[in-house]
């Protein structure tokens, strides 16, 4: 089963971090990424540019309006995601628990829909 781990954070919080604190954080992330690559669970993932770079598009009566900023107004924004394939939801939750952003903000784990289906 594939799961997407959505990373939520507030970049402003990390702005005041020292170099050492940052290095420690990146070290944690690297270690998890390495583990996922070696276990064959890594499927993909990307970091997203700051939410201030986002455009939100709405089409009403056929007319698109494009506004600056993310869809949901909140201090915490979607900062990136990783997709893993693992045996259980528990394992996906375990990976999310160790991702550093979970300690300061939140990680959200969602099963990814598949194209496979059984007729009734």
């Amino acid at each position: 089963m594939k799961y997407m781990l959505l990373i939520y954070n507030n970049p402003a919080t990390y702005e005041n971090w020292t170099e050492q604190e940052r290095a420690a954080l990146f070290g944690e992330v690297d270690a998890i990424m390495q583990e996922l690559r070696e276990s064959g669970e890594w499927v993909g993932g990307e970091g997203l540019a700051d939410a201030s770079q986002a455009k939100t598009i709405r089409v009403r009566d056929g007319i698109p309006t494009i506004s600056d900023g993310p869809f949901a107004e909140a201090k915490e924004q979607l900062a990136g995601y990783l997709t893993v394939e693992c045996e259980t939801m528990e394992r996906a939750v375990d990976i999310a628990t160790r991702w550093p952003d979970a300690r300061y903000f939140a990680m959200e784990v969602r099963p990814v829909m598949s194209q496979n289906g059984t007729e009734q």
Binding site: G40, E87, M113, Q120
Partner: protein, 418 residues
């Protein structure tokens, strides 16, 4: 890479034979497996242009042995034990074995390979990947494509699986007689998993996945040749054929799922049905009963009904009763509830479903809600049916199933009679 179907079939048949010959001779399952893959790639590149060699099996073994030799030499150079490997590959006797003895070894080797790739210490994902590569002769790229993961991820899974086998120090021979029955169950599980990965894919661009179905059938046929008197091997092959027979009718041109009762049965593959029915009839008449045989027998009853209304639900119910006794499992009870509803009316089925609400394995499962929806619809309780379909649609992680369930719920709302 241009490669015709015949060459590909030949290569895939020869892959486990070449691998078996190498491992039997030299050990180092992991390195031999890499070497055979390289030889297969070399053959796929050369044979279409230069023609298939007179002794294709010998060609593959020679090329693979050369790769293995190079690999062992560079490895032992690292370990400063060059002399051992240099003398390892001077013999050419394995290239021209006596034909009869050779055939016998191949058969044992393929079975030994299957047992090794489906070792219970490996995760199901690793068992599947390794079986497809080492026994099926598929490339890592093909397997990765079929499972929608990056090639590097699949390569890592295969490599880890091989490391586990290496670390376990398993010898390259058949497991002891006393363990074979249990180990064979795992092999059958892996083959069925491969089959279902392919079968449950609806139409569309995922042709690679549909090939998994064919590959699972090919490998199960191979296994049946090696174990002709195992009723469960015959049962699994029959189940695959009787299920795959319905593939042309199970989804619409747009990929939407079509339930069994609404399928155009003229599109079912009659050759597969005939073969599956013959296999299961023979197995049931002379071998001990098992879960795959019962599932195949149920599939056969469905396949033999020319129209959905002619389905012999009483017989299906008897078979589900037997299956539930032989291999109790909430999914079987769920299916028995459908058969019971068809025989004794929807309320009997709904009552049976209520007993599943307390089963943790199924309580939150979308299939329970979906089946309940069908039975409520049968009973004429459309608001309850709609609510169940909607609940099932929220729970499923399958896009085609979600679409089917949402359509089913919408149909009940749109019909003024309902």
């Amino acid at each position: 890479m241009r490669i015709d179907a015949e060459t590909e079939r030949l290569l895939r048949d020869l892959a486990p034979q070449a691998l078996g010959a190498l491992v039997r001779r030299y050990g180092h399952f992991d390195l031999c497996e890499d070497a055979v893959q390289e030889a297969l790639l070399a053959a796929a590149a050369q044979w279409p242009d230069e023609g298939t060699p007179a002794n294709p099996r010998g060609w593959l073994i020679t090329v693979a042995a050369r790769r293995l030799s190079d690999q062992l030499r560079s490895e032992s150079a690292r370990q400063r034990r060059e002399s051992t490997a240099a003398t390892l590959l001077t013999s050419d006797e394995l290239l021209a074995p006596a034909p009869d003895e050779d055939r016998l070894l191949d058969q044992d080797d393929t079975l030994t390979l299957l047992f090794l790739c489906c070792h219970p210490a490996l995760s199901p994902a690793s068992q599947v990947a390794l079986t497809l590569r080492a026994v099926g002769g598929l490339t890592t790229a093909q397997i990765a494509g079929a499972f929608f993961v990056p090639e590097a991820t699949m390569a890592q899974r295969i490599s880890r699986a091989k490391q586990s086998i290496k670390a376990s120090g398993l010898p390259f021979r058949l497991p002891p007689e006393s363990e074979q029955a249990e180990r064979l169950r795992v092999v059958l599980q892996v083959l069925y998993l491969i089959f279902n990965e392919g079968y449950t894919t609806t139409s569309g661009p995922n042709l690679q996945r549909a090939e998994l179905t064919g590959e699972a059938i090919r490998l199960t046929r191979l296994l049946l040749r090696l174990r002709p008197d195992d009723g469960e091997v015959a049962g699994l092959l029959a189940l695959m054929l009787l299920t795959d027979a319905r593939r042309p009718a199970r989804s619409g041109a747009d990929g939407a799922l079509i339930p069994l009762a609404e399928q155009d049965r003229s599109r079912w593959n009659q050759a597969f049905i005939a073969e599956g029915v013959a296999l299961i009839t023979d197995a049931l008449s002379r071998m001990p009963l098992g879960p795959y045989q019962l599932q195949a027998a149920i599939a056969a009853v469905h396949d033999e009904a020319v129209r959905a209304e002619e389905t012999d639900w009483r017989q299906i119910l008897v078979l589900y009763d037997l299956l539930e006794r032989l291999a109790p499992n909430p999914m079987v009870t769920l299916n028995r509830a459908v058969a019971l509803a068809m025989v004794s009316g929807p309320q009997a089925g709904l009552d049976l479903l209520d007993t599943l609400d307390t089963d943790d394995r199924l309580a939150g499962h979308h299939r329970l809600a979906a089946v309940r929806g069908h039975l409520f619809e049968m009973a004429g309780d459309y608001p309850a049916a709609r609510a169940c379909y909607q609940l099932a649609a929220r729970r499923t992680t399958s896009l085609p199933e979600q679409r089917y369930l949402e359509m089913r719920a919408a149909r009940l709302r749109a019909d003024p009679e309902k």
